[in-house]
């Protein structure tokens, strides 16, 4: 069996209550939360950056559209 088999089994497959997998399920759950939230936040940041690149020339043509307080 290769390393990836053991890694997959380590993370997901062993639900033995007395074994160390209790902590591994916990680790996988917490990692999944940060992965999903972080992935989505990174996607929004990337889209923000892309949208900013498209917006910049348009704003420079209409400088009076900036709102001053």
């Amino acid at each position: 069996m290769n390393d990836s088999y053991y890694f997959h089994r380590w993370i997901f497959l062993n639900a033995n209550r007395d074994g160390p997998m209790q902590a591994h399920h916990l680790l996988a759950a917490y990692a999944a939360v940060w992965l999903i939230q972080g992935g989505y936040a990174a996607w929004v940041v990337y889209q923000w950056w892309c949208a900013g690149k498209l917006l910049r020339p348009a704003l420079s043509l209409n400088s009076d559209s900036d709102e001053d307080l």
Binding site: V33, V44, W48
Partner: protein, 244 residues
């Protein structure tokens, strides 16, 4: 100082406070809260699973209210309707994020506690349906031809929100694999008072993070709308120049 710069500063401060709150909440959940007797350490998934599941039932209502405003304003006040539409799409995406987390953490907890990844009981099935409804909402917005997209999406949002009370009531009305409500289900419900600080801090942290995501995604949508308006105006100007 320009308004956008003030919003940017407020956003950075809010994000910093949110990350501090989440770091503190995670420390409490993993290292300070007492270990539960039956499930041992795996019960600590509770501190992420419950707050994110609660919030996945709140953001659909933000989407619903914004969609209703969009439908009400789309003819009389189109610019305000665009603002409501930006809130609606932001809330739908944040709903999908939180519902995904609820499902994934629930499955990992279920495998450890019950020995199975999934059961077709009322809570799990209605939550999966909620996730599918908001994924459909986003796919509709992405894939349908322009023109009626926002109106169709707003109408779908009204129907999708019907699933939210079903998810909430599912563990109160039907018994299944999912445990009964932890809070507000009679004298035996609730958690050990020593677990409360970790729970409350996680609720606070994930609420703050959700508000941050919602505001940031809203700002992105407004920026996209601005770009589209600029492009449309430029196209009109170009066509007028060609006509002359």
């Amino acid at each position: 100082m320009r308004r956008s710069r003030i919003f940017g500063l407020v956003g950075i401060v809010w994000l910093a406070l949110t990350l501090l709150a989440l770091a503190h909440a995670t420390r409490l959940a993993l290292f300070v809260a007492p270990t539960e007797e039956t499930m041992l350490d795996v019960q600590r998934i509770f501190y992420y699973h419950v707050p994110t599941s609660m919030l996945s039932l709140v953001f659909p209502y933000v989407n619903l209210v914004a969609s209703i405003f969009y439908l009400a304003w789309r003819r009389s006040e189109p610019l305000r309707a665009l603002t409501a539409d930006a809130v609606a799409i932001a809330a739908a995406e944040v709903t999908v994020v939180y519902a995904s987390i609820s499902l994934v953490t629930g499955m990992l907890w279920g495998k450890a506690a019950w020995g199975i990844w999934w059961a077709w009981d009322a809570r799990l099935t209605s939550m999966l349906l909620l996730w599918l409804l908001y994924v459909s909402y986003l796919m509709l917005r992405k894939l349908s031809s322009p023109g009626q997209t926002q109106t169709l999406a707003a109408a779908l949002s009204v129907f999708a929100a019907i699933d939210v009370p079903i998810v909430f009531l599912s563990i109160r009305m039907w018994r299944g694999q999912h445990p009964a409500p932890v809070f507000g289900a009679g004298p035996d419900s609730g958690i050990n008072p020593a677990m409360m600080p970790a729970f409350v801090w996680n609720v606070l942290g994930w609420v703050m993070w959700g508000v941050f995501l919602l505001a940031f995604r809203y700002a992105l949508e407004r920026r996209r709308q601005e770009t589209e308006q600029e492009s449309a105006l430029k196209a009109i100007e170009d066509s007028l120049e060609i006509a002359q």
